[in-house]
Symmetry: C2
Subunit: 256 residues, 2 copies
C-alpha cells in the first residue's frame, strides 16, 4: 500500500512540475498573504489543489495537512495523513522564478512512511523513508560522510543569525560559514548532497516533514533548539545536523 | 583585437571547465591559505596557471592581475591587463564541489573592455562589455527590469549583515530579504538574471572586475560603500545595485 502511494505521488509530482514550468512561461497573479516576506502565488494554490485532488480521488479516506486553503490544522498523530507544502520558497519563486521546492510527506499513525523533496527547476527529486532508502531521481544515495564543524557550512535563517537567537550565530561560528537560500526544501537538498553540515531556522510542519523523513536515512538528527521533539503543529525553531555533530550543536545552542 | 582576445578567452574557459569537471572526479589536495574561511585548492592554482599560460603564449606583452602565485599587485591603469579569479567561491568549491565561478576581465589603459563570469557547474557563461553587449552562453540578454526595494532580494556578506556594518542590514531591511551564497561570481550571475536587486560585500579587484563590466551593460551602478569609485588594488567594501535604486542605497548606507 505504501509503495503504491509512493509511486503515485512520484508520478503526480513529475506531472505538476510540467504544469509549473508552463505557468512560469505565462504571467501569473501574485498576492500578498501576511506581508511582503510571505508572497504566495496563484501557482502555490494551484499546485496544492492538484495534489489534493489526486489524493482525494485515489485515497479518499486519507487526511491532509497543507499550508494553503485552511488545511493547516490537521494532526498527523492518527490515521493516514499527507503533509504538503506546494511551493516551499514562495518568495524565491515569486521574484526569482527559481530556487523553490515541492514538499510532500506521508504519515501513518504518527510515523513518517516516506517523503519527497523536489527541487523543481533543477529537476532533482529526492525521496526516502525507512522502507524506501533515500534516493535522488530514483537512484540510491549514500549517508553523508562524517565531518567536523570546521569542515563544512551551515544553512541558517538570516534573521536568527543576525540576532544570534538561541546562540545560532555562535553555532555558525564553529563552522566554515553560513549560507542563506530562502527555501527550507533546498536546504534539505543541500544536506542530502553533503553540501551543508546542518540547518537552523523556524519552520512549519509542512516545511520539515518530508525532509526529516528522508534525512533519517542519511545520518541526520533533528529537533527543536532545546533538543525536544518537534510538535508537527506549529511554527517552531528547528535544527537538523549530521548525527555525529548534533549533540554538540544542541549543547552550544543551550550553553547560556 | 579585442574581439580576438574575447573569442580566445571564451574558448579557453570552455576548455578549462572540462578539466575542472575531470579533476572533481578525482581526489585533489586542499590547502589552507589564510585560515579556515579561505581554503584554496590545487585546482584553483591549476586553473590560473592554465589561463596565464594561454595569455602569455598568445599575448606575451599583456599584464595579469590574479589572486594566486603573487600576481596580485598588478595595476590595471595602463596597458593591456587581464584580471583573473580562477575559482571564485573556493570554500564552496572545496566543501560542496559546486557553487563557484571563474572570473576574467580585460582592461585597456584602465577601461574595462570585456568580462566573463562563468558558473561552472551550471555551465552558464556570462560575458559582456561596451562593444559586446551582455550575453549568456552567446545569446544577448536584456537589461534588468526596474524594481523597487520591496520587490526583490539582496545578496549580502553574512558577517557585514550580522554586524550591520555601514548600515548594510538597514539597507537589507528595505528589501524582501537577504541571500548568502558564498561566491561573488554567483551573486553577479543572480544580478544579471534579475534574481537580486543588489549585492553588498567586501571584495578584491579580481572578485568584482569581470562582473562590473558586464553589469554596466544591464543597468547596474557600483562603487565602494561611500559611493566612491573602486580602487582596483585592495580588498574593499563593495556595493552594486540596479541603477534606479543605487542612489537611495548609498544614502541609506551613509545615513548615520
Amino acid at each position: 500500500m505504501n509503495q503504491n502511494k509512493f509511486n503515485l505521488m512520484e508520478s503526480w509530482l513529475r506531472e505538476v512540475r510540467e504544469k509549473i514550468l508552463a505557468w512560469l512561461d505565462e504571467d501569473f497573479t501574485i498576492e500578498e498573504k501576511t506581508g511582503r516576506s510571505d508572497l504566495v502565488t496563484a501557482v502555490d494554490k494551484a499546485v496544492q489543489d492538484f495534489l489534493v485532488a489526486k489524493i482525494n480521488t485515489h485515497f479518499p479516506e486519507d487526511a491532509i495537512l497543507a499550508e494553503e486553503n485552511g488545511m493547516d490544522k490537521t494532526s498527523i498523530v492518527s490515521g493516514a495523513v499527507w503533509v504538503i507544502d506546494p511551493i516551499d520558497g514562495t518568495l524565491n519563486f515569486a521574484v526569482q522564478h527559481d530556487n523553490f521546492a515541492i514538499l510532500v510527506a506521508y504519515y501513518l499513525d504518527g510515523t513518517g512512511q516516506f517523503g519527497f523533496v523536489y527541487d523543481v527547476m533543477k529537476n532533482k527529486l529526492f525521496s526516502g523513508g525507512k522502507a524506501f532508502g533515500a534516493k535522488l531521481n530514483g537512484k540510491l544515495i549514500e549517508p553523508v560522510k562524517k565531518r567536523t564543524f570546521s569542515e563544512g557550512l551551515i544553512g541558517i535563517n538570516a534573521g536568527m543569525y543576525r540576532r544570534n537567537s538561541h546562540q545560532v550565530a555562535d553555532l555558525a561560528d564553529q563552522t566554515l560559514g553560513v549560507r542563506v537560500n530562502g527555501s527550507a526544501g533546498l536546504e534539505f537538498c543541500a544536506l542530502f548532497e553533503g553540501k551543508l553540515l546542518g540547518y537552523v531556522s523556524r519552520l512549519c510542519p509542512w516545511d520539515y516533514a518530508a525532509g526529516t523523513i528522508i534525512a533519517e536515512q542519511l545520518g541526520f538528527s533533528y529537533s527543536d533548539l532545546d533538543g525536544q521533539p518537534l510538535d508537527y503543529q506549529s511554527w517552531q525553531p528547528f535544527i537538523i545536523f549530521q548525527s555525529s555533530l548534533y549533540p554538540e550543536a544542541i549543547t552550544i545552542l543551550n550553553s547560556n
